[in-house]
């Protein structure tokens, strides 16, 4: 048969695609990629990545493409709601916005006038924390935080205290130059697309990737080498790597002397020796005198005793050279063969030192020394909740940073690089503030970084000033608050009862709480008078979530395509190591429901309450809505929510408000970006070109350069430990002394995760984890018609060993039991898994009636939450106290400390526990969907 006989219909290969493309920022997750929204006939037709955008450079993940379905979800709330049935029932009536704002104001005004702390305002993974925290500060309550306390504060705080910034979205590996990359405990992370893009680049260049994770999926599946570590033992593993590197002298001595506090002298209390100006002292071998660390031309000593003082490095070397950290000593606990640990250490050393890179970029440090080139150590690391969501997570994250520093690979070509406005040392961050005055704002920002026990939020009698007990001796450095303790503390009236709980974008009666069923009970529990123990709950959500059913008053939010947002340098910006950038969202389509952007509603509520900054002298509102605020609010003179196109539209960083600013952003693809000057791109903490540039752009509250040293040894932590040793004015309660002494160690240590130490390991032999699926965002994804077809159920994956020893077969069910409870769930086999680990996808399980799904949706029948097994408190130790299931340093929720046992169960109709059913205030979704039909 020849070609001429082939019949081919004529095709239009050039059909029109869109009437208009509007550029904005994705918010299907917190990665904040730039998107091109194609509109046709007034409707969203197609969303693609914005090629010019610094975050995603054109790519888009599954969630981002599925944004259409989220935007059109049948679960979208339609109008403000006032509860009519009991809490949890989902019975509401729709009310007007005026009524909603008046009701909220009538609940909140008396609180502010009498006892502002009786409002607890907590927000989820929103990206307007600079607004919400400011609002809470103006209201005057100390009880504000976002969700970081249960998310990743270990990572954040360890990063800030050690390096001046965390992994996470505040820095990234030098994807273009690194040659060996190790990734610890990451399934997705906030830097979702950039990590994938980066891994792709490494693959193209043939760089090696080592994945450290008990589970070998996703990034760990493509890694060239997999370290199937036992959960909770990364600290040991890392310290064994340090041990090896020290022993072999494979550390960057020059870098340590120049950029870290390795040479800083410790006095007999383990505090830094300082001169009269408060400058840390080092021992100069040239002059045999103690000199301030920043003096040019020093030859610092790294060991020895000088006038009773020894350099930090000596303590460090002594600790990690100990046989306790030899690979052989940790191998069994880590589940990693000693030979593998040794080889990885060798590979790190080889790549860092034998494959050193040098770029012809001169730079000048804060001592005034000009370096003719910029040297780089092409080894880099990234880590996330796999190491941070453990009760020893803070110290583990610290250990990893110390490893990076010993290799000389932070802020150098090929290593880990910060994204401006990071790095920022602790000294450039505020301290926490707690002082309330009825009718007045709080005395300062809520969240900050304590320098010592004097910064704790404690009353004279030792009780906590904050409802979540953040910044107490139980978790002194809880820099993100402890949202996971709010409901249980408020329910218990401990440290005090509250009147109003106000939450935003956090599904607290479901996946974002530990002990979910218990939390549901606390939210519905009543006192003797028949009042709810937590009297009033105001909540803002965009969708009919589980939490909506447990609130009294709902502010319905818009979807991300329908509102203004600003992704601000004052908050969590979208920068890259080479560029500073921020972004906006704007209504690319108008909502046809009676909904309002939450930030607008919040500003309007603030005006009704007469809050300073939101109300003019005459009592009128300062800002009509969030757009108005974004354009006109100034935090400091010239510094506003958006850094780009200020003043006459050409000023960057600082400048007068520009009424055309948002239009400028729109025209520029919804973002603004300015490149870091060439000579400022590396060694940012000590690079004066960077420091000057950063101060000019307004990154520091002081508006002056703030060069600093990386902190191998963290003095503020030592101050708490010292208190526990009995020194100093502020003393911890007796029962905490021992634990503080052990865990508040200024050099990274490892200790057994608390839950593991508290239970009988032979009874609960397994570790239970969750992972984020790339194609789902927490609980939001399940309302998405496309995404839920991918992840509609979440079996518990068990290792081949567990599978066989329990005689499981395909389709089997099992009961999974922790010290706190039992769930019954479907199981599946996975061999590429640490033998003692089980895991499941996070937040797939749904409550019946939520999210406009059918009652028998697989998410409700086969899906489940592991959260039912995780308690916010540790099992009783017999000391009469219930200790919190958190990291003792930061209060980070220890999700991944969970220990369980498993047993075969008879097949079930649905998973248990059963959590009842809620009425849907928005009805249910349609029976079929043919999105796009109008255009085909």
């Amino acid at each position: 048969m020849n070609n001429t006989m082939t019949y081919q219909p004529k095709l239009d290969t050039s059909p029109p695609v869109a009437d208009e493309i509007r550029q904005t920022t994705c918010y299907m997750c917190a990665c904040r990629c730039g998107i091109n929204v194609h509109l046709k006939d007034g409707a969203v037709k197609y969303i693609e990545g914005n090629r010019d955008h610094p975050v995603n450079k054109g790519v888009l993940c599954a969630k981002g493409s599925a944004g259409i379905m989220q935007h059109l979800s049948p679960a979208r709330l339609r109008a403000p709601l006032l509860r009519t049935g009991p809490r949890g029932s989902g019975e509401f009536k729709e009310i007007s916005w005026d009524e909603a704002l008046d009701t909220a104001a009538s609940w909140l005004a008396p609180v502010r006038e009498t006892a502002p702390e009786r409002l607890a305002f907590f927000t989820g993974r929103d990206q307007s924390q600079s607004l919400t925290s400011w609002w809470a500060q103006q209201f005057g309550t100390p009880n504000y935080a976002a969700h970081g306390g249960f998310c990743s504060v270990n990572m954040a705080a360890a990063g800030i205290y050690t390096l001046g910034g965390a992994f996470w979205e505040f820095g990234s590996p030098d994807w273009e130059r690194t040659k060996l990359f190790m990734i610890f405990g990451v399934a997705e992370d906030h830097d979702s697309n950039p990590i994938k893009m980066g891994l792709g680049r490494l693959k193209e260049r043939g760089a090696k990737i080592i994945g450290v994770n008990p589970v070998r999926t996703g990034y760990n599946a493509v890694a060239d080498e997999w370290v199937g570590i036992t959960p909770g033992t990364d600290g040991l593993f890392i310290m064994a790597l340090i041990h090896e590197l020290l022993k072999a002298g494979k550390i960057d001595i020059e870098y340590l002397c120049r950029t870290t506090n390795a040479p800083v002298l410790l006095d007999e209390d383990g505090l830094f020796a300082r001169n009269e100006d408060g400058k840390e002292l080092v021992w100069d071998r040239a002059t045999n005198t103690a000199q301030p660390f920043d003096k040019p031309g020093l030859k610092p000593a790294l060991h020895g005793t000088y006038e009773g003082r020894t350099p930090v490095f000596e303590s460090l070397a002594n600790r990690y050279l100990s046989q306790d950290y030899a690979p052989e000593a940790v191998a069994e606990r880590c589940g990693v063969p000693a030979a593998q640990i040794k080889r990885i250490a060798a590979e790190l050393a080889h790549t860092a030192f034998e494959e050193e890179i040098e770029i012809p970029q001169p730079w000048t440090d804060f001592r005034g020394v000009t370096h003719p080139t910029t040297k780089g150590r092409p080894v880099s690391f990234h880590a996330m909740r796999g190491i941070s969501a453990h009760s020893n997570g803070f110290q583990t994250c610290r250990a990893l940073h110390v490893l990076q520093l010993l290799l000389g690979s932070v802020e150098v070509p090929g290593g880990f690089r910060f994204k401006p406005p990071y790095p920022k040392p602790v000294s450039a961050h505020p301290k926490p503030h707690f002082k309330t005055t009825p009718g007045k704002p709080l005395d300062g920002p809520h969240l900050g970084y304590p320098r010592g026990p004097e910064d704790l939020g404690l009353h004279e009698d030792g009780t906590a000033k904050r409802i979540d007990k953040a910044y107490t001796w139980e978790n002194p450095l809880s820099a993100h608050g402890m949202m996971h303790m709010v409901i249980s503390n408020a329910h218990a009236g401990d440290p005090y009862p509250i009147d109003v709980l106000f939450m935003y974008m956090a599904n607290m009666s479901w996946n974002s709480s530990m002990n979910t069923k218990g939390v549901m009970e606390m939210l519905t529990d009543k006192d003797e008078s028949g009042e709810y123990k937590i009297p009033k709950i105001i909540y803002s959500d965009a969708y009919s979530s589980e939490m909506v059913a447990y609130a009294d008053l709902i502010f319905p939010d818009t979807t991300y395509l329908e509102r203004h947002d600003c992704i601000s340098l004052l908050d969590r910006p979208i920068c890259e190591p080479d560029a500073v950038a921020d972004a906006i969202r704007w209504p690319v389509v108008e909502p046809h429901r009676d909904v309002r952007g939450f930030q607008s509603a919040l500003i309007q509520l603030g005006a009704r309450l007469g809050l300073p900054g939101m109300t003019n002298e005459d009592g009128s509102a300062t800002y009509t809505d969030y757009e108005d605020y974004i354009l006109n609010h100034q935090r400091r003179p010239g510094i506003g929510p958006l850094a780009g196109f200020r003043g006459d539209g050409t000023e960057a960083g600082r400048g007068a408000p520009n009424p055309n600013q948002i239009e400028k952003y729109k025209a520029n693809g919804a973002f603004w970006m300015e490149h870091v000057p060439e000579e400022a791109q590396f060694n940012k903490p000590t690079n004066m070109a960077y420091q000057t540039w950063a101060a000019r752009l307004g990154f520091y509250v002081s508006d002056t350069p703030e060069p600093y040293l990386f902190q191998l040894y963290v003095e503020p932590i030592r101050k708490f430990q010292l208190a526990a040793e009995g020194k100093g004015e502020m003393q911890p309660p007796e029962h905490l002394r021992e634990r503080l002494r052990e865990t508040m160690d200024p050099l990274p240590i490892w200790y057994e995760p608390f839950e593991q130490a508290a239970i009988d390991q032979s009874e609960y032999p397994l570790h239970a984890l969750t992972q984020r699926p790339a194609a789902m965002y927490h609980s939001w994804g399940s309302q998405n018609a496309w995404l839920r077809q991918i992840h509609g159920v979440n079996p518990l994956y068990v290792s081949g060993e567990v599978w066989e020893s329990n005689g499981f077969e395909e389709g089997d069910w099992a009961s999974l039991t922790s010290h706190h409870g039992t769930i019954t769930i479907p199981v599946a086999r996975m061999d590429a898994l640490n033998a003692n680990t089980v895991w499941t996808w996070n937040a797939i399980g749904k409550r019946k009636g939520a999210w406009a799904l059918d009652e028998d949706a697989p998410e409700t029948t086969k899906g489940f939450l592991l959260n039912h097994l995780i308690h916010e408190l540790l099992p009783p130790k017999g000391d009469g106290l219930r200790w919190s299931n958190s990291d003792p340093v930061t209060g980070q929720a220890a999700w991944y400390d969970l220990r369980v046992k498993i047993a075969k169960a008879p097949p079930q109709e649905t998973t248990s526990p059963k959590t009842g059913q809620q009425k849907s205030p928005v009805g249910k979704g349609p029976a079929t969907l043919e999105y796009g039909k109008r255009w085909t």
């Binding site: 839920r788 159920v793 086999r829 061999d831």
Partner: protein, 291 residues
């Protein structure tokens, strides 16, 4: 494969119908006009009901006529064209027979040939499927012929022929099952060849692309338990061959018994046809962890 009732009915009934046409076309015997008419109508009815039921399987039956266009390359198209030709030719044959009282041998032979060709086309639709190793075998058309001719013989009342044929069919069916059970492995398809991954590794599906069902799984990845299939095979072969054969050999085949024989055979045919689909493993199952 998913044993869709419309397809089972289609292949079973049209096979019987065209099989009957073969016998009527080649060995009409002497029948009175009414008897001839009854037989012819039966053959036409079975074939057409079968063909019609196949339309139920179509997403767009209203466009079914388009299926006649690709006779040069597509067995399904050929089947449509030839079936229509067979039906037309056999209708003419029947008409002539009933009206003239004598069958026209030439038209009869032509009809029989077209009927055989139709059966071949039907069989080839399955035989050509390399994706279903159990079907991709010369045994498939042979078996389809055997079924059609045996059923046709039974319906046509050709007792002696049908007894021989029943015996042959029973053996052939058993042999086909026996060979079919090995076909997938013999074709050499594994998850490793399907994915091109390490040929020496043990492979499992860890996660299906969707937690929900999809068209492919429903249509192609139907799975039947071994025990269940063994049971059904015994039932099928008993009904389709052993029972009719035993009855036919032990008793004289009269009206009542003939009816029972035919019904038993058709029952067996339907079960075996169900198995033909249900046991047919499509290679795409490899991507879904089947096998």
């Amino acid at each position: 494969m998913h044993p869709a009732p419309s397809i089972i009915l289609f292949t079973a009934l049209s096979g019987l119908g065209f099989g009957l046409m073969v016998w009527l076309g080649l060995m009409p015997g002497d029948k009175g006009a009414w008897v001839a008419a009854t037989f012819c109508i039966l053959a036409l009815a079975l074939a057409s009901i079968g063909l019609c039921s196949s339309l139920f399987h179509l997403g767009h039956p209203e466009r079914a006529w388009k299926a006649l266009s690709q006779w040069r390359s597509s067995w399904l198209s050929r089947e449509g064209v030839i079936a229509i030709a067979a039906l037309a030719s056999f209708s003419l044959y029947g008409l002539l027979w009933v009206t003239s009282g004598t069958p026209n041998t030439l038209v009869g032979a032509l009809s029989a040939a077209l009927a055989l060709a139709t059966i071949l086309c039907t069989a080839m639709i399955y035989t050509q499927m390399k994706t279903v190793p159990r079907w991709h075998s010369p045994l498939t058309p042979i078996l389809f012929f055997a079924y059609a001719l045996t059923g046709g013989a039974l319906l046509a009342g050709k007792v002696t022929f049908s007894l021989w044929l029943l015996a042959a069919l029973g053996g052939l069916q058993a042999f086909t099952w026996f060979k079919g059970d090995k076909a997938f492995a013999a074709a050499g398809h594994t998850m490793n060849t399907a994915t091109g991954l390490n040929p020496d590794a043990k492979m499992r599906l860890l996660e299906a692309p969707h937690s929900g069902p999809n068209y492919l799984q429903k249509e192609m990845v139907f799975r039947i338990g071994r025990k269940h299939s063994q049971k059904l095979r015994i039932i099928a072969i008993t009904l389709l061959a052993i029972l009719p054969l035993a009855l036919g050999l032990l008793f004289e085949v009269k009206h009542m018994l003939a009816g029972i024989l035919v019904l038993s055979h058709i029952g067996g045919l339907l079960v075996s046809r169900w198995l033909f689909f249900a046991e047919a493993e499509h290679v795409v199952g490899l991507y879904y962890g089947q096998r």
